[in-house]
Amino acid sequence: MGRYVARRLLQMIPVFLGTVTIIFFMTRMLPGDPAAAMWGDKAADPAQLAAFKHQMGLDVSKWQQYLNYMGDLFTGDFGTTMGGRKVTDVIGEAFPVTIQLALLAFAFELVVGVAIGLFAGLRRGKAFDKSTLVLTLLLISIPVPVLGFIFQNVFAIQLGWVKPTVQAQHMTFDQLILPAVVLGSISLAYVARLTRTSIAENLKADYMRTAVAKGLPRRKVIGTHLLRNSMIPVVTFLGTDLGALMGGAIVTEGIFNVQGVGNALYHAIGRSEGATVSGFVVVLVLVFLFASLLVDLLYAVLDPRIRYA
């Protein structure tokens, strides 16, 4: 187990470095001069521009910039935005908001998705199962912007149950419920479908017959034996999804005015802020890599037959 984790962590290093390299050059290839853009429509004074570029470290070759960036990265210095803010501050401001939103969405898709999948799987072929299949398919095919506007219009504007947008300065937890539902609903459909298939398949397993035959109460048969064994494909999906949710939902955060990672990234890309974009991606790649490690370790917890030597 310990050796397995160590090996996985070592394997992460080249992947991490590679992804950061790719994103560095992708963001630095953006056209337009972000330094000159600081002067707006006015032409910048050449001397001032040169001084500013020197201050930002933009007056050396791209390769030198890359080496400087990577060197700084390992000392925890993510660089500064064109406006002079530390990128770590921008990240530190946006991530807590996105983490709250992501966890809420994650909890929603996990609890509701597994519950729906469980009931549908247990009653395979019945009305509830069939309507679940149809409804989840519909949910998957509705693109996020559309779903966001429908939910905002129905639940916030027409029914008035929640606020239509999140207040940037005074964000409260209940304002995040609607965006979280929108964010989680497509994954919810996948979770429900995966759980349903898995449950329906495992119902026929030998250990289920044994559990019923030895007289265990139904709750226990379903809770400990069936559900636990059926969770492996679901956990695989949820692990990748958690990584994706942390990446911030650019569309959902835009619709509901959530000041999280997605919003920050969207504006940074629009302003060609290379340092900010790659700073966020560094954190995201780390989250993504650790989420996939966590998933693999969870397999062993769910199914004791899987062992990591």
């Binding site: 080249p14 992947v15 991490f16 590679g18 992804t19 390299t21 790719i22 994103i23 992708m26 963001t27 290839m29 953006l30 056209p31 398919l137 519909l138 998957i140 095919s141 509705i142 693109p143 996020v144 912007p145 559309v146 506007f149 219009n153 504007i157 298939t197 494909p233 695989t236 692990g239 990748t240 994706a244 990446g247 650019i250 569309v251 835009g254 990234l265 969207y266 890309i269 629009g270 060609s272 974009v277 991606v281 995201l284 790649v285 993504f288 890599l289 996939s292 998933v295 693999d296």
Partner: protein
């Protein structure tokens, strides 16, 4: 997760020769190839028939939109304001579904918007299948250090979120056409295909007929394309069909964000974006492009489901 993908792909692969076996046993009637067998299976599925009809209709919209409407989708007449209520009895007329904020016919734009979506969906899928499939085949066939390099590079690109990466790439284009969107999505999207293909090739490579071909002195190219490819392609086709709907949704999302297609091109994503400003006065301006987009994505997902069931009975 890569382990899971590799595990499910071989499982499906094993099922296919078995299915072929039963088809071969019924040789007395008529020998069927895997493709033909899948086709016979597909024709009987209502899901496939419904999605195929929808897709044929969409492709027709994309090829010849003027067959369905005589109204110019770009002609904005401000007398036809979005507050003019749609006239739902004026079938196929300009005001059937009302007008958008600039007085353009929503119905005409709905029909003309199909082209961008269909082209992006098909071209991106073809691009990632060829690029990813080729890389996956090389990695799976040669193994060793070639495999290590390709697999690690795949992991690196896989770590970049699709939407985010596409935003960064597309931001570099001053003028964005359908082809820039296709380019961005292919550059970022091939990783999934590489992983599926690699896993599939690794299982097929060990089959007896590959050893036999080698013993007979077949060249690398012949083994790869004549012997391995036809037997390893099924899981790739399945993943590609399901992904197609996703690419269409991604294009619409990018256009919605204003970093996808640009105005002379008609895209449902752009129309959804402009409709959100008038959503309270004219919900129909959002409803029709959004509905069309959802139906399109739904049709391709349903097609993917049906193809998966026909080609890969184990994955059901």
């Amino acid at each position: 997760m890569p382990d899971m993908i590799e595990k499910t792909a071989p499982a499906g692969e094993n099922a296919i020769p078995a299915q072929r076996g039963t088809a071969a046993e019924a040789k007395a009637e008529k020998p069927r190839s895997l493709g033909l067998d899948a086709w016979h299976d597909l024709r009987k599925r209502p899901v496939f028939v419904i999605s195929a009809v929808l897709i044929v209709l969409l492709v027709l919209f994309a090829i010849a939109p003027s067959l369905f409407t005589s109204v110019d989708p770009r002609a904005g007449d401000l007398r036809n304001h979005y507050l003019t209520k749609p006239n739902y009895l004026h079938f196929f007329q300009g005001d059937w579904f009302g007008y958008d904020g600039q007085g353009r016919s929503i119905y005409a734009r709905m029909i003309y918007g199909a082209r961008a979506s269909v082209v992006v969906g098909i071209c991106v899928t073809a691009g990632v299948t060829v690029l990813g499939g080729l890389l996956g085949m090389i990695a799976g066939y040669y193994g060793g250090w070639v495999d290590t390099i390709v697999s690690r590079f795949t992991d690196m690109v896989f770590g970049i979120p699709l939407l985010l990466g596409a935003l960064v790439i597309l931001n570099a284009f001053q003028v964005r056409t359908v082809w820039s969107v296709v380019f961005a999505l292919v550059v970022l999207g091939w990783t999934q295909m590489t992983r599926v293909m690699r896993g599939s090739v690794i299982t097929v490579k060990q089959s007896d007929y590959v050893t036999a071909a080698k013993a007979l002195g077949a060249g690398t190219g012949r083994i790869m394309f004549k012997h391995i490819l036809p037997n390893a392609i099924a899981p790739v086709i399945v993943v590609a069909t399901i992904a197609l709907g996703g690419y269409i949704a991604t294009e619409a999302t990018l256009s919605f964000l204003g970093i996808g297609l640009q105005d002379p091109t008609i895209s449902w994503g752009i129309d959804i974006n402009s409709a959100q400003k008038v959503i309270r006065q004219a919900p129909f301006a959002l409803f029709f492009p959004a509905g069309m987009l959802s139906v399109t994505v739904l049709a391709f997902i349903m097609l993917g489901d049906a193809v998966r069931d026909a080609l890969d009975p184990k994955l059901r």
